[in-house]
Structure formats: C-alpha cells, structure tokens
Symmetry: C2
Subunit: 459 residues, 2 copies
C-alpha cells in the first residue's frame, strides 16, 4: 500500500484549507455541552452532524450509537486489506460548559476569527480531533479513492463528564470496536512543539455528606450539645493526609509500583520545565507534597487525594451563629500503576465509615472512576505518530506524562485489550476556560499530521 500517493492527499488538503475552516464553524456552532442536561438535544444534533458528514465522505456504518449517557458516533472504512492494520481513531465532540460567560469576547458558539485565531468553545478541545481526522480521511479518499490502512472512528459525547457510561458501552460493542491499536486525539499543543501524552493517571471522584440535626440550629442554644457536622468534615479531611502529604487511607498505596524505565527518563527530563511552568500558572514560589519524590514525580507518577470542594453552614458576609444541619466535601483521587479504581473507592469508603458515630449520619457517593494508563512512547505505532509530527511540525513531539485522567484510555486497554497511543490534533489554548481558540496557522499542519499518520501506519 506504499504506492498510495501521500502527496496527492496533502495537495487536496492544502487546496481546501479555507473551505475546511468554514465547514468547521458549522460544527462549532452546535452547543454540545455534554454535562448540562439543558443541552441534551444539541449534543445529539452534533452527533448527527458528524454522522451526516461521515456519510457524505463515504465512511461506512456511520451511525449514532446510544449509550446510557450521551450518544457516541461510529463509522469505519475497512478496505485496505487484511494485511493492513486496523486503527481505532478516538476523539470527543462534547465540550466544556462556558461559564463564566461574561469573560468571552465573542459568544462561545458563534465562531469568531481574530488575529488568525478561531475562537469558539470546543475549537481545540475536542471538536478539532473529530473534524481534522475526518478532513484527513476526506483528503486521502477524494484524492486517491482509497485509504492505506483500515480505520474505525469512535467519537464520544461525555468525555468532559468523566466518561461515566463509556466502559459499559465499549463492553457492549467489543466486536465493533476491535482494532490493532487505538489513537487518542484529545486536545493539542499550545506552543510550537507538538505534544504526546505518555501517561495518564486514574481517578476516583466522590462526595461525602454528614447530616446532623433536622434543621440549622442556633449555635448559642445547641453548641456543645449537638454534634456539629462541619467538625466531623474537618476531622475527615484532616485525616486524609499526614503533615507531609502522605495519604492516610489504609491500603491506599498497596498497588503502587515504580514507574517503567521508559517513563522514568521522561520524569527526570521534565522536572525543571514543569516547575517553571507551575510557578507561572499558580503564582506560587513554594510547592508542597511528600518530600520523598521530585516535583514531577508527585505531579504525574504518584497518586493524589485532593478535596475539590468543602461546604456547610453560613457562607455569606459577616457572622451568623448557626450550627449547620449538614456539611460535606467532594474529592478526587488520582491513581497510578496497578491501583484499581474500584478497590481504591472501597478503601476510601471504609476509611470514611471508620468515622461512624451515633450522633451524625454519614453518606458517601462515588461519582466516577477510571484506571491509570501508560500509552505507547516507542515501537512502530508510536514511531508513526512521532514521524507524522516531525514531518509536519518540523520537530519531534515532546513526550509528557499527564497528571490528569483520560478514562477512555484505560477502557480501551482493559476492555478491548489493545495498546493506545496519543496524537493530539490542534494548536491553541483555553480548552476549559473562556475564549478557547484554535490557532489557524496550524490548521492545515494538523490535517497534514493526520494524513502522514495514515501513511506511516501502512509502512
């Protein structure tokens, strides 16, 4: 299949860049905020827009597939022959909420080009992944009438909500999604160097609520005799870590093993730039955490436990002498290595339940969970990505370990039992903030990267 002409594909893409950008705006106009039930119909409309575009391009079996949550989009083109690899191309078409709306210069769903940047919610995270793969497919198919490899597309609609129903969906569609390797295209680079995500951490999110009296009480009348739920929340949160930041949930670290050698080099290489970047982003000079590990190890290779929100009682101006009826906190634990999210969730629940007493009621909810994962950073598939970036961006990608979580990676690895590599498509910023944008100077570059990857995989 090496005789399928790459140059013809690239030429088609270059000739149509402006038209592609115009078409991209159509998709960006659909407010597919997956986390907000008010946008349910818009999420489906975005899925249907993608299916229609797939059908127009000759992608087969294009369809909206229902999940227990937001719909997924599937399509395939499997005519490269049995010797050619089958690659599962993943991106997500749902987008982050837009709050705070008043900080947007132009409305988030009215795509607006300023200074060569295309501003719109989802422009870089992650309608770009969906759209640029489709345009790479179009460029190759129209120019050459065929594709050098077999591809399956799977586009998710609930990534920004933590993919709560995707594991069951993948289980139910194992045969349909079977492939040799999966490529995650989520987000892009924010500077002139392409990025490859070398690992993600797993996650367990949860919420604890502590209930006391049936209503808020006067602290003068009932202080000292009614157990205050905020005090219990304090005891629980305080007990999560020792004074140096070690997590105190019994058994929490049991399945943490040293990171692989391939990843250890990455950790050492990124230490200094990671700290410099953190100073910039946080405004802090002094960092924190378990002193036995370096900054970058703690940020990406060690598990964490953070309270995301704490609440109870009066929060307004001045004093109000209330003894609250209820208090609580939300937390997220980031997992590494062999830490099983279900096991960690159970250990967390046991830890919280150890605070059980006869004066308060404790309620625990696990909100989401996923496995940690390392992605391919060497070998032929990773090399196909590296070469595609190098050929189009003019430089090799930087391999980075992500502190965050991409649940779909662990699901592909654990349920489909296939390796996963990462190839973000796009160049821009503010993916979770106001004024998200795609830097259009790199719009064609990224389509080229996706085209190169298809040909590299055929080698």
């Amino acid at each position: 299949m090496n005789d399928v002409p790459l140059e013809a594909s690239l030429a088609y893409a270059h000739a149509h860049t402006e038209a592609f950008i115009e078409q991209y705006k159509e998709l960006l106009r659909i407010p597919s905020i997956g986390a907000d039930p008010a946008y349910r119909d818009d999420v489906r409309r975005a899925a249907e827009w993608i299916v229609a575009e797939m059908q127009r391009l000759g992608i087969e079996h294009a369809q909206v597939l229902d999940t227990a949550g937001q719909p997924a989009v599937y399509g395939d083109y499997l005519h490269a022959g049995e010797d050619a690899p089958t690659v599962l191309l993943y991106a997500h078409y749902d987008v982050q909420p837009v709050d705070p709306l008043d900080l947007w210069v132009a409305p988030p769903f009215k795509p607006d080009i300023r200074d060569g940047k295309l501003f719109a919610r989802g422009a870089i995270d992650d309608k770009s992944g969906v759209f640029l793969h489709l345009k790479a497919f179009e460029s190759t198919m129209v120019a050459n009438g065929t594709l050098p490899i077999n591809v399956k597309f799977i586009f998710e609609g609930e990534e920004e909500s933590g993919s709560p129903t995707m594991e069951a969906f993948i289980e139910a569609h194992k045969a349909l999604l079977a492939a040799d390797v999966a490529v995650i295209s989520d987000g892009g680079s924010s500077d002139e160097t392409p990025r490859m995500m070398a690992s993600v951490r797993g996650i367990v999110t949860g919420e604890v609520r502590v209930y006391g009296p049936k209503r808020d009480l006067h602290s003068g009348s009932f202080g000292g005799v009614v157990h205050n739920p905020t005090h219990m929340v304090g005891k629980m949160v305080a007990a999560l870590h020792d004074d140096e930041g070690r997590i105190q949930i019994p058994g929490f670290y049991d399945d943490v093993v040293p990171v692989s050698e391939a990843q250890q080099a990455l950790i050492a290489a990124n230490e200094e730039s990671a700290i410099a970047d953190a100073r910039e982003q946080t405004g802090l000079e002094t960092f924190w955490g378990v002193p036995d590990y370096t900054y970058y190890e703690r940020a990406t290779a060690r598990p964490t436990c953070d309270v995301n929100g704490i609440f109870g009682g009066y929060q307004g101006m001045g004093a109000k002498t209330v003894l609250p009826a209820e208090a609580g906190f939300k937390l997220s634990m980031r997992l590494v290595d062999n830490q099983d999210p279900k096991d960690i969730a159970a250990k967390f629940e046991a830890f919280i339940n150890s605070f059980t007493c006869d004066t308060l009621k404790i309620d625990i909810k696990i909100l989401s969970s996923s496995w940690s994962a390392e992605t391919l950073v060497s070998g032929p598939v990773a090399q196909a990505v590296i070469d595609a970036y190098t050929a189009t961006w003019g430089k090799a990608p930087k391999m980075e370990r992500a502190g965050g979580s991409v649940p779909i990676i662990g699901m592909f690895q654990h349920v489909l039992d296939i390796p996963v590599t990462s190839m973000g498509l796009g160049h821009g910023s503010n993916g979770h903030s106001p004024n998200e944008y795609f830097d259009l100077e790199y719009f064609g570059t990224n389509i080229d990267t996706a085209i190169h990857f298809l040909y590299n995989m055929a080698k």
Copy 2:
C-alpha cells in the same frame, strides 16, 4: 410614691388595647433590618418614628443618637424625685433579615392578623420591647400625670448584628445612661409561662481564610504539588476539639470558674425539660459533648466553639476536579464566667497562627465579641420583675440560663457598672424565622406587666 394609682394606669391601658395594636402596626411596617445596608434609611426611619412617639408622650430629651453603626434612640423622664430609683429600660428596634421570603404567609412588613396572632417581622423580637414600654409609660402618664420612678429609655438598632459598635457608644454616653439598674426587654415567652433570662454567654465570632494558588487549578495537574487550602481548613477545624469535644485552643479554659450557687440550682432544675425540648427542636435522639458535664451545663454554663460555616472550591452538582485557590470557615465561641472576649480572641488567633506554613497564606478576622453575664435572679429588682409577671400572667416566671449571647448586658455591667435584670415583653414565636408573630391574647397582659414593674420598683 406608692399613692400613684396603679389601677388608673391599667384601666387606661385596657381601654386602649385595640388602638395600641393598630398603632403598633405602623412601627412594624418599617423594614428596619439593621444587618442589611440596603435598609439603612429604613432603620433610621424607625428610629425617628420612635423619637416622634416619645415626644408625643412627653418623654424628654427624646433623640436619635448616632453610633459608629446603626443609630440608637434615647429619651428620659426623671421627675420622680431623688429618692426614686432610676431604671434604664432597654430594647432594640432592629429586626432579623426575612429570608427565606417565600415561606412567609403574608409579607413580613405588612402586619397581618390571623387567628388572633399579629404576624410581622419584629413583632416579638424586639419591636414589642420598644413599643410596650412606651405604652406602659403612656398609660401611666396620661392616667396620672406622673411616673412612680425615674426612667431612661435606650433602644438599640444593631442588636441582631451583635451590637458591634454599642460598647464604644455606651462609653461615650456614660453620664447620659447612668442608672441604678438596667432592664433588658428582648423577646418574650412562647408559651403560657413568662421567662426570665438568668444568664447569657459571652461570644467571640471570627472568620479564617486560607489562600493558596492565584486561581483555582486542575487537580490532575497540581494535586500532590500545590498545598490545597481546603486541607489546611480541615486540619484547623479538626484541631479545635478532641474526640470528646474538649476545646483544644491553648489556655481556652483558663478563666472558667464554677457557676454561682444561685445558678447551680437552675441548672439541675432544667436538665430534663431542656433535653425534651432539644429532642423536639433538633430531631435528634442522641446528644454530644464533653462527658464530664450534664446536658444543661454544656448548653448554658460551659464555653463552646462551633464552626458556623465552612467553604471552599466546588459546591455544585457532581464532580469538578478543581484544586481551590481559597477556603475558609466561620466560627463562634460562647464564653462563660471570667473569660475575657479579647483574651479568647487572642488565644484563637495564636492557635490558628500555629498552622502557619510557607505554602499557604492565612488570614484571621475577629467579627464581634462580648462578655458573658449573669443577670439578677433575686433581690429587690428581680423581685419587682417576678411580682409584675406573677400579678399579670398568673404565675411566677421561669428562670432560664440562655446559651446565647446578649452583648448589651455585659456592656451595661462592665461599662456602666450597674446590675442588669431581664424582663421580656411579648408572647409569640419565630423571632428569627418566617412568620414571626405576637399572640395578641397577651398584648394587654404584657403592657400590664410593664406597668406593674414601674410601680413595684417604686416600693
């Protein structure tokens, strides 16, 4: 002065009860919410209404007196001779906020009579104290042309805010307010037994804020390396008490001494009824607190420390994996005996400052403070109150220790150096809740009580 005819005063009051109720509605229509700056003009309007009414009744030196906060109202009538005692009559004309507004059957500032009850914000707490004292004065003056004792009226406009500027005001007006004894008329009874407040606790309220990074961060990127302000808040709150509820602020209990013998009997007498009442009000079966003391001792005679609110990060539905920039808590400590509020505030600040670290910024605000106080429960002044109740309600008042705080009592005792007794005027409920009401069956009864008190004090 025993020849001033009590019966004539009572007859006047009885003949005018309906007219008094109509006039009371005028005062209740003024939304004098002292804690809310939006009602600043209304607070002053209420003060001016009272001054105008005082002038109409022949009360002398009637005037609005500015404080650093909300205005106070003063007036006096000092023509009973040097042998007659001078009594400082205290009440407050500011009222609680009205939230939640949608639970009110009728608007809070449109007085509404239903089933013999007058519903309005402030009806029982504490415009009743202001108005009924004035009507007792009117009934006595109009019927007899004189008063059996010397009286000074002082009506406060910031009681519901914790009287933050009243101590300085009293210092500045020591001579004007000089008296033999002060009578606190704040609130009333909610059943057919009159109540006398035998003690109040002191209070220190404060707020702690903990600041970390310059903005909320992604917990995946910065968990484990940036000190989370909610974790510090948890450590602080957890450290406030040991597992049995003993307050751990160093030196907190230093100046706590056993309660007086007169009060010890009250504590024992009220234990069972207090627990029964608490079950009703809280919905709880099991209570909490330092096991070395009885329920009623803990509720009224021991110091407390309660978090009134705790806050930080995400509080909405579901999960949001944020590492908050800021967290904090509000607390109120109830003081007893010789605990000096300034000393306790300093000890609290030292305790919080012991958590100082180089990864977070800690900010402490003391919001208000006042001394604990015991009021007169025996002796001639207390007896004058007891006899006034007994003559008009048909039963002796129940002496109760209040767990809450009435800062003005300690101010009168410490600044004016005079004893204080308590004589609540009113019968009703929901003073700090929607649908506050005065039970009109007792409207005349309470004016009678106030009239009897004037004559009893002359004996």
